[in-house]
Symmetry: C2
Subunit: 157 residues, 2 copies
DNA sequence: CATCCAAGTAAAGGAGCTTTACAAGCATGA
DNA sequence: TCATGCTTGTAAAGCTCCTTTACTTGGATG
């Protein structure tokens, strides 16, 4: 009894999750691009968020992004060239370098946050989606699958 | 008034959608791999589902997958080499070729469907997620963003 | 029959990652 | 003291999957 065949043919949960994520992310990305950041992908915003106020090392960034430290290093190279991050001396010394955000990145974080909230509010209005309920249910599902620590967010295709 | 700062810090809807999708997809993919298909990625399953009972041309497949026809052609090349699809003469003639599933692909479709349903049932039990409710809310959201026609499902990173 | 169009294919190239390999700084125990 | 080992950071090569560019082929349309 895995399926009720005379119910309306709702797409599978997995497909719905995928389409919802993709649609919201694409819309978000387009709005952020239109706001002056056409050359920043979602992963860059994720990196900014991880680096946050205190910064982090490339290796920490790699772990949180779920990629190799080389990939994270390349990302930092790129962002540094474009003026979004700086490699500074790490207080703990050693070979470590603390990657910190520049003001340009902080401005992006602020704008992206605004876009995100506007978008969610619009979804609640336009689609009539009960976003608090949706968030609660999704949080349950995520915790059920991943435990308490939230996993890195990566493309899975 | 974009944020209520004294509410519990639930992650953003976009993040929750991403994590939920990724977790469920990864779990799904691992189970399918364990069931004997370690070399099939989600996009292959999507292709099987699109080709379905009647088959389709490479160009149709490309449109539904949201990639170029060359990319779809390469996918079909690969799947044909591995015995999952066949290029047959197209009833409409012309240069068209009808790509159809082999029995191997149909077996995969059946197993993947079972895995999907098992997984959803487990989620409802383990996580206590109200999956019908979740599906309804997600469907609302998707229709609100995409209209009636469901968009191709692609990686967005 | 000349023209155009859509389908398929071929080849090159690029983005973004991994793998392999190595150098540099520090901690640890014998 | 100092050899060992661990971890960070980098460098270089290679791989996968996609796109871009360009071409061929079969049929429709005037």
């Amino acid at each position: 009894m895995t399926r009720d065949d005379d119910s309306p043919p709702t797409p599978e949960l997995l497909f719905l999750l995928g389409m919802a994520f993709q649609l919201v992310l694409t819309e978000f990305n387009e709005r952020v691009a239109a706001a002056g950041y056409p050359d920043l992908r979602p992963v860059h915003g994720m990196a900014f968020q991880i680096l946050g106020a205190e910064g982090a090392t490339s290796s920490e960034l790699a772990a949180r992004l779920g990629v190799t430290k080389q990939a994270a290093g390349q990302l930092v190279d790129d962002l540094e060239r474009r003026g979004y991050v700086l490699r500074t001396a790490h207080p703990a010394g050693g070979r470590r370098k603390l990657v910190v955000l520049t003001d340009a990145a902080r401005r992006h974080l602020g704008i992206a946050g605004d876009v995100l909230h506007d978008l969610e509010a619009e979804l609640a209005r336009r689609a009539g989606a009960d976003t608090p309920l949706l968030r609660a249910e999704l949080l349950r599902l995520v915790h059920g699958l991943a435990g308490d620590d939230l996993p890195p967010l990566r493309p899975v295709w």
